[in-house]
């Protein structure tokens, strides 16, 4: 058997590394300011109101959580489904997944109306609530991915990698399915479709793979570590399949909403009359996040720069999709009396406006910066990535 790969941590003493951390401290400090500002004055200082109660922080948070579950796909392909090519990057995949999840969950916590009651959120769980059950599965997910990472890195524990990987895979599947179902089970007209479950699985795979590839390229580019043609080719295919599945399911979802008379009005709003939401749907989610990257990825051989460009497009499209799904879904009025025209002092029957404030955007970007900081520190502290990624893959785990 060939010798195992040599894993190395990031060189951490260079001025560049400290510069990177200092750079990340800027969005983190802005997010801290935003959090305390909202905490002090209440959510009145955000663009949210009693019609649009989940705003920009949720767009970032749900994107990060969805991408986190998808970023684990690479590790799961290696350790559950035996794809040897991904084994050298499996530890990075697990760390990316954990970092993105922590960033997303931190945002959800910091955007609570009563974030000071974190202890209540942890200690009082309503067993009937899908949301509360997800809190338990977030824990199972993080612990199983953490243990998986440890077993991967600890040679003596390598033989137990597969069982723990299977647990991580099942919790990943549960998490992403229930994320989709939280929308699917909601009565609002834009939600209320079980297609959200498979659609979010595809979105997670696309966003997670794109984030993973960008981070892999960033780390390898940072240290001049090379990535083999074979690995980037496989990642390109994985991303291509995920984007194609996302696009297919999104088109299926939108056309089914349009086809059914009971949901045609909301489909018309999303597809044609929704202003910013319609623009973000067509230009952002479908064109920039779907058709364009797919056109780039469908070619048999592409450069690293093209693959990175496709990943950036997928991430941008993903954020657009989250905005359309979350904000657009709330902007469309809730219908209490189907067939009748409704109006009230509580804005019944109206499209609800929403303009995010800077504090919300700062808070959202803080979640991304937190994930990036965890990655920077994690990669510096633990040897998670091989020195070279252009060697034939080893059956190490």
């Amino acid at each position: 058997m060939a010798e195992s790969l040599i894993f190395r941590e990031l060189a951490g003493t260079s001025r560049r590394y400290w510069g990177l951390l200092a750079l990340l401290a800027v969005p983190l400090a802005l997010a801290a300011f935003a959090y305390f500002y909202i905490e002090h004055y209440g959510h009145i200082v955000t663009g949210m109101d009693n019609q649009i109660v989940w705003g920009m922080p949720h767009v970032f948070a749900v994107f990060l959580v969805v991408a986190a579950t998808g970023a684990l796909n690479i590790a799961m392909a290696a350790s559950v489904f035996g794809k040897v090519i991904y084994r050298p990057v499996a530890p990075l995949s697990a760390l990316v997944s954990l970092a993105l999840l922590v960033g997303g969950l931190a945002l959800l916590m910091l955007d609570l109306g009563r974030s000071d009651r974190l202890i209540v959120a942890i200690t009082k769980l309503n067993p009937a609530s899908l949301f509360a059950r997800r809190v338990i599965f977030y824990d199972v997910f993080m612990v199983s991915v953490g243990v998986y990472l440890w077993f991967l890195l600890e040679r003596r524990m390598n033989r137990y990698v597969k069982p723990v990987a299977v647990i991580a895979f099942l919790s990943q599947l549960f998490l992403i399915t229930t994320t989709g179902l939280e929308f699917g089970f909601n009565f609002r007209a834009a939600y209320d479709s079980l297609l959200y479950a498979p659609m979010f699985i595809a979105f997670a795979s696309a966003y997670g793979t794109a984030m993973f590839v960008l981070i892999l390229f960033a780390v390898c580019g940072w240290e001049g570590r090379s990535v083999s043609e074979e690995l980037s080719g496989r990642l390109k295919n994985l991303l291509g399949m995920s984007v194609a599945a996302s696009l297919f399911l999104a088109v299926l979802f939108l056309s089914s909403k349009y086809e059914l008379l009971r949901s045609r009005d909301v489909a018309r709003f999303m597809l044609f009359d929704g202003g910013v939401y319609t623009a973000l749907l067509w230009l952002g989610q479908l064109a920039i996040g779907g058709v364009l990257p797919l056109a780039l990825l469908l070619r048999s051989r592409i450069s690293r720069a093209t693959l990175a460009a496709a990943c950036v497009l997928v991430v941008a499209g993903g954020l657009a999709q989250m905005y359309v799904t979350l904000i657009g879904g709330q902007a469309y009025p809730q219908i209490l009396f189907p067939g009748l025209i409704e109006s009230s002092s509580y804005f019944d029957g109206q499209i609800h406006p929403y303009t995010p404030t800077f504090v919300e955007i700062f808070l959202g970007l803080g979640g991304v910066a937190l994930a990036a900081a965890i990655l920077a520190v994690g990669l510096r502290a633990v040897a998670l990535l091989p020195e070279r990624l252009d060697q034939p893959a080893q059956p190490q785990a």
Partner: protein, 248 residues
């Protein structure tokens, strides 16, 4: 003996009055205790036998009249802060128009106090809860302000408080960052009074709202829902709200 009889009060009479007074002093507190015991003690909680409900007769509800909304605001300390988009609304008048027939109607909409409330199902901490008598409430001590209940409620009946509240009604504690909605004036109901909206509607002579125990066949509301056709908003969702509408 004759001298004794002339004293004005006989020994027998004295003993009888004394016994009666003593008996009265001893029994009166007991009778009072029985009366107290007969009332609903706070510790005994509420009964599952009761299902509080509202019946709203839309034929009697005048478009433009907002007596119920004003009464709710006064009773529960809901103030106009000048920010209509963020101000909580526990009850609102929804004006309806059927474009096919031209028929217009006006209905008050508040928390529908569902038998299967989605807000309770989704609440991560259990802050949203349903009392045994069917009243759906928010425990402000464990609400974390996640707004999930607002997302889940198909009636737009929940609000969140966006800014600090001052000068609150002691019966109705509220808090910045917490979700809230119509409590069916639970503090009044527990004192055997009517919700403020119902009282205001009746006082103004509209009589469009009837409050009572849907489970008690003798109650006015139970008799009316048995006699007249009434509907529930979004009955297709099978949430079985405790608020019913007549004439929709």
């Amino acid at each position: 003996m004759s001298a004794d009889a002339n004293d004005g009060i006989s020994r027998r009479g004295f003993l009888a009055i004394s016994a009666a007074t003593l008996g009265g002093v001893m029994l009166a507190p007991g009778i009072r205790l029985i009366e107290i015991a007969g009332a609903r003690a706070p510790a005994t909680g509420v009964s599952k036998q009761v299902r509080w409900g509202l019946l709203i007769d839309t034929n009697k509800c005048t478009p433009g009249c907002d007596d119920c909304v004003k009464a709710c605001a006064t009773e529960n300390g809901l103030k106009d802060t000048g920010h209509p988009r963020t101000d909580p609304q526990w009850i609102r008048k929804v004006e309806l128009k059927d474009m096919r027939t031209g028929r217009a109607s006006s209905v008050p909409v508040m928390c529908q106090h569902c038998e299967h409330p989605p807000c309770v199902d989704v609440c991560p901490t259990g802050a949203s809860f349903k009392r045994a008598d069917g009243i759906v409430l928010v425990d402000r001590h464990i609400c974390i302000g996640c707004r999930y209940c607002i997302m889940a409620c198909p009636y737009k009946a929940r609000s969140i408080v966006f800014e600090a509240i001052t000068d609150q009604n002691p019966d109705v504690p509220r808090g910045n960052g917490c979700a809230e909605g119509c409590t069916l004036c639970v503090h009044r109901v527990d004192r055997d009074e009517q919700p403020a909206c119902v009282e205001a509607c009746t006082k103004a002579g509209h009589n469009a709202m009837t409050f009572g125990d849907l489970n008690d066949p003798q109650s006015e509301i139970a008799q009316r829902v048995a006699k007249y056709a009434s509907t529930q908003i979004r009955a297709d969702l099978k949430l079985n709200p405790g608020v019913r509408y007549q004439g929709l």
